[in-house]
């Protein structure tokens, strides 16, 4: 399509775009910022609490503790075999 030919479709676009007022632009921008802010906030909440909630459900259903908990737990079966006071003479 040659560029120098009149194009009423483009003229129509310019006409319709001109109806977009500054007020509408600001309003939509403000709503978008609020929505994006809300999404960020919800994302952070999920990031923070979801692993804990998941862990709680695992515990409630009798599942095994996570590896991090396992490391912090001193009562392993191999520990039970050791003498309670290793430095004392029986």
């Amino acid at each position: 399509m040659p560029t120098n030919v009149k194009n009423s479709f483009k003229e129509l676009q310019d006409e319709e775009s001109a109806k977009f007022s500054e007020q509408s632009e600001q309003k939509i921008r403000h709503n978008l910022e609020s929505n994006v802010g809300l999404f960020h906030f919800l994302g952070e909440i999920v990031d923070l609490y979801l692993p804990k909630i998941f862990g709680m459900f695992v515990k409630m259903s009798g599942g095994a503790p996570s590896p991090t908990e396992d490391q912090s737990n001193p009562s392993r079966s191999s520990d039970n075999d050791r003498p309670k006071y290793p430095n004392t003479i029986d």
Binding site: M1, V5, S8, K10, Q13, E16, S17, I28, R29, E33
Partner: protein, 199 residues
């Protein structure tokens, strides 16, 4: 960093940065300044398209907001295979077509004309006839054809999209799109004849 040191340079960002750079910048930094570039550049055009398709400024305003929300949420899916403008216009057209279909308000269709169009499919409508039509008349004529035909004509003549790009947006083959364009032009001609028969 440059923008922080020289605030005047950051004002110029809108004129120097390409769409793709703005998308990349936004995805990397989540900085609103990049999104503002895209918003400033495309919001009037998207609003204009929504007005053309939905025929209601209040609905077009809501639609523009929804479309930009979709753009933000799906920005990471923009692969760069097509132009950014093509990508956001495809979101715009699909959104508006969905809205109209959902609300079943596309009652302005000239049902009889559509039925008769198949009989005259061999008559090729001159492109010049559409391109040089008076804008006021074009608006009236476009309002009288189905939304999918209207969208296809806007994609071709307003956004200068290729047949392949239109096919991607409408999920149709290139030959199907060529036929749809031809039929849409015929519907425009018929509507024009019916409405402005006295001239």
């Amino acid at each position: 960093m440059i923008c922080l040191l020289f605030p005047l340079l950051s004002k110029d960002i809108a004129s120097t940065i390409t769409d793709e750079q703005a998308v990349e910048g936004y995805l990397d930094s989540q900085s609103p300044k990049y999104f503002n570039v895209l918003y400033k550049r495309y919001s009037p055009k998207i609003f204009g398209k929504c007005v053309s398709l939905l025929k209601d400024e209040a609905r077009a305003e809501d639609a523009t907001q929804e479309i930009f929300m979709k753009i933000i949420l799906n920005l990471s899916k923009f692969s760069g295979k097509s132009k950014f403008s093509t990508w956001i216009y495809s979101i715009t057209y699909n959104y508006c077509i969905d809205v109209i279909r959902r609300k079943k308000k596309d009652l302005s269709v000239l049902v009889d004309d559509i039925a008769n169009t198949h009989d005259t499919a061999d008559d090729d409508v001159n492109e010049k006839f559409l391109l040089e039509m008076n804008v006021r008349r074009l608006k009236v004529v476009l309002d009288k054809i189905p939304v999918t035909d209207r969208s296809i004509l806007l994609m071709k003549y307003q956004d200068s999209m290729s047949i392949k790009e239109i096919g991607d947006v409408m999920a149709k083959s290139e030959s199907a799109i060529k036929m749809k364009i031809k039929r849409a032009k015929q519907k425009c001609q018929k509507a024009h004849k019916a409405i402005f028969k006295d001239d």
